[in-house]
Symmetry: C2
Subunit: 161 residues, 2 copies
DNA sequence: CGGTTATATTTCAAGCATAAAATTTTTATG
DNA sequence: CATAAAAATTTTATGCTTGAAATATAACCG
């Protein structure tokens, strides 16, 4: 009977765990870097912010607008957060709040004409910036990378301590 | 003379640009997802936050501590931001500010013994959480993915409009 | 020296973000 | 119908984050 233990594994190997930790730090660093570049470009080029752009992007698709709860669900941020950003965009004439028929609890939020125009200009620049920032990724690598990222986005720590 | 234009390319193809845009959204989604899981785990498990953990992690390596400016440089956040986080950690007995000899402008920040103990417990959980969240990535894929992310982190939009 | 420039940090104002509590309206149920 | 439960949103408290201005000290230089 052979008693040689080749790898003293405990289900997970420490080295794999450390490698994943380093990978996470690189994922974070890359994302933060792109976000920082975008923030700076939005600030100097359009005097606006990424969260404002995100709200406008979500509303640009639907001519009829979205309810506050739909907006926070699409953007995956809290209700209260959306309230504040929308407040400021309404003050700036970029958004309007429209009451919902038959439900006085809810409000729909919609881009104004000025808002749509501003968004189009920003979206065009945004696409160029991203194209530039990600141009180290070859086109044929995109599908696999995409899949890996989607896989990460689906995982949960539920059940772990 | 053949005048057929197969691809009306303008140096960059629109489809490649759109594909990069979608890739960026997935990169962002994956990162935000992991951050959200970590935040929730730190909150419920240790009643603390990711930024506090980041500061503690940076200080854990150096027994002698770091200057405020070194800390903000390592963490890549603004000076004023570090001031606030450190203030709260000092209030909680996790950090101490130590004057620097021969330079009364600067202060060094150091983990207390209690701080080191708390960090070790948190770091261990943190590593398990990451291991779990990234376990969809195979070990043999890590080096290539790593390289792609580093490549993104190096790009700049300087010179673009 | 004395005055300028550079460095280290904090303060400030504004906005982003969350979780939890509060408010208002709708829906369900006895 | 009355009242309880559910749903949509806002408010509140707290903390993170930035960029810019303010403060304090150090270094340089004529």
């Amino acid at each position: 009977m052979s008693e040689v233990v080749v790898k003293p594994s405990h289900g997970h190997e420490a080295s794999a765990s450390k490698a994943r930790l380093r990978l996470w730090l690189k994922l974070l660093k890359a994302t933060k870097h792109v976000e920082a570049e975008l923030r700076e470009n939005f600030r100097t080029g359009f005097d606006t912010t990424l969260p404002r752009f995100d709200v406008m992007a979500a509303l640009y698709r639907d001519e009829q607008g979205l309810k506050m709860s739909e907006l926070s669900s699409v953007l995956r941020v809290s209700n209260g957060n959306v309230t504040g950003i929308v407040d400021r965009l309404v003050d700036d004439g970029i958004l309007v709040r429209v009451p919902v028929d038959n439900d006085r609890r809810a409000t729909t939020v919609r881009l104004t004409t000025a808002g749509r125009e501003q968004f189009e200009a920003m979206a065009s620049s945004h696409e160029r910036w991203i194209d530039c920032l990600l141009d180290g990724i070859e086109a044929d690598e995109v599908p696999h990378l995409s899949e890996q990222l989607e896989c990460i986005a689906r995982k949960s720590t539920k059940g772990e301590d």
